[in-house]
């Protein structure tokens, strides 16, 4: 932007344009952000957006913001951020460029703002053209009486040969799997022993060997005897813990003796 532009810009800003800019204040809520406001302000320049005077636009915007402040209209923060940026841009445009200054030139920044405005304007026009197109349900129509597509559900069951073989193997080897299952026949559980001992507790007034308490049929075959002995031993430990009986053993591997606890 040359100096001559600046002078002409100053001159161009007629009274009527100032009034127009002020009139916008009333409508501040109607703007969709600072870019929208700038785009509206730019129209007062009555030039192609590509030839817009960004300096003049910045001044119009700052004027608008000052007016709003004077009228105590609260402006959203982004309007103020834009104002600060435009004030900076304005000063950069007015001052001769500082050769030591790094970064973008004032002209670059101004050109970018012009680009943003032009792009927003282009999108507005595109939106208008889009909405002006023939629209479904307004200008052209879909079938009004669609015919129902009947969905029929067909279930197909499938199985592979492997499935079949596995199933058969599963059935045929049920017996062979038995060794893997605990054979309950020769097992006396602690619960069983506990139940049994509870019922017999009344008879245990005197010390007596645990072995003599083994149930009938569980005292001969070695596997059964071991199982029932282990179960009963666990049961008396539990009962001792509850304070129902007393246990004693003369020495290691000596017979274990039990007696009902007094008062029980």
């Amino acid at each position: 932007m040359s100096d001559r532009d600046w002078v002409s810009d100053q001159k161009d800003q007629s009274v009527s344009e100032r009034i127009a800019a002020e009139a916008l204040i009333v409508d501040v809520d109607g703007f969709e952000g600072p870019l929208d406001l700038l785009l509206t302000l730019s129209r007062t320049q009555k030039v192609d957006l590509r030839r817009i005077s960004v300096l003049q636009l910045a001044e119009q915007y700052l004027l608008f913001v000052n007016k709003a402040k004077a009228l105590r209209i609260e402006l959203a923060a982004d309007y103020l951020v834009m104002a600060a940026w435009l004030a900076y841009l304005k000063s950069r445009l007015l001052l001769p460029p500082d050769p030591s200054d790094e970064g973008p030139s004032a002209e670059d920044l101004a050109a970018h703002l012009a680009f943003q405005l032009e792009r927003l304007q282009a999108m507005r026009e595109a939106a208008a053209r889009l909405m002006a197109r023939d629209q479904k349900g307004r200008d052209f129509f879909a079938r009004g009486l669609p015919e129902e597509v009947q969905r029929s559900r067909k279930v197909v069951y499938s199985a592979s040969l492997i499935d079949l073989m596995r199933a058969y193997a599963r059935i045929r080897t049920k017996d062979e799997f038995r060794p893997f299952v605990m054979d309950r026949h020769d097992v006396y559980t602690m619960e069983q022993a506990l139940d049994r001992m509870r019922g017999l507790l009344g008879y245990a007034g005197e010390w007596s060997d645990l072995e003599s308490w083994m149930p009938e049929g569980w005292d001969r075959a070695p596997m059964r005897r071991r199982s029932s002995m282990a179960a009963h031993f666990a049961a008396i430990l539990e009962m001792a813990k509850r304070g129902q009986i007393q246990i004693r053993q003369g020495e290691t591997f000596a017979p274990i003796q039990i007696r009902r606890k007094e008062g029980e």
């Binding site: 279930v155 040969l161 058969y168 193997a169 059935i171």
Partner: protein
């Protein structure tokens, strides 16, 4: 008062255009429309009945037809294409465990009675399971067993063999094959297993091949 009528008669669109109009209106309408309905929506001076006649001829033999519904007209799919209006959703499901076990027993022991299946599985076989397998055409009724009560037997079908890629039920792998294939990972109890393998031969597989 007659002037506008006359004028609009004059302005009535050509019949080809009226045909387009009727076509569009009937296409978009949510219900069949009578000639009067059409006339009300078309420019003055139009002759919907004539346009319909043309349109109907145009759609003769097409995929959709212009049909009369009472006093009204509507587009409808040609009846011979009705089958296209059906979308078959095929749902693939795995056979239930009960079904596949029953099927396996029938395949390995056929012909086999229901009581025998139950004995082998150790569980009652539901009517539904048998029905399902029959419906799938994987099993069918075999000959009646010549024992008291003459119970029916079940055998597998050609469709079953085809599905599983077997030439005959004899090709079904035996327990030994299953074990070799790693499908059985338990060791047979010494002496116990071999005898149970033997009865495979006894359970009537031979009978199947007699018919």
């Amino acid at each position: 008062m007659t002037e506008p009528q006359e004028q609009s008669l004059f302005d009535a669109p050509p019949i080809a255009e009226q045909e387009r109009m009727v076509e569009a209106i009937l296409f978009a309408s949510t219900e069949p429309l009578s000639v009067a309905d059409l006339a009300r929506r078309m420019p003055h001076g139009c002759d919907p009945a004539e346009a319909i006649a043309y349109l109907r001829r145009r759609y003769e033999g097409r995929g959709v037809r212009l049909v009369r519904v009472g006093d009204a007209w509507a587009f409808r799919t040609a009846p011979d294409l009705g089958h296209l209006m059906q979308k078959e959703v095929v749902e693939n499901r795995k056979l239930s465990r009960a079904a596949i076990e029953t099927l396996a027993i029938i395949a390995y022991h056929q012909p086999v009675t229901r009581a025998e299946i139950e004995e082998i599985r150790g569980v009652a076989v539901s009517r539904g399971t048998i029905d399902q397998l029959i419906e799938m055409e994987w099993i069918r009724f075999g000959r009646r067993r010549m024992t008291p009560g003459r119970p029916v037997t079940f055998v597998v079908t050609e469709i079953f063999l085809d599905h599983f890629g077997l030439e005959s039920a004899r090709d079904l792998p035996g327990l030994k094959d299953l074990r070799a294939a790693g499908l059985l990972d338990n060791r047979p109890l010494p002496g116990a297993a071999l005898s149970s393998d033997e009865d495979e031969d006894q359970t009537g597989q031979s009978e199947l091949f007699e018919d």
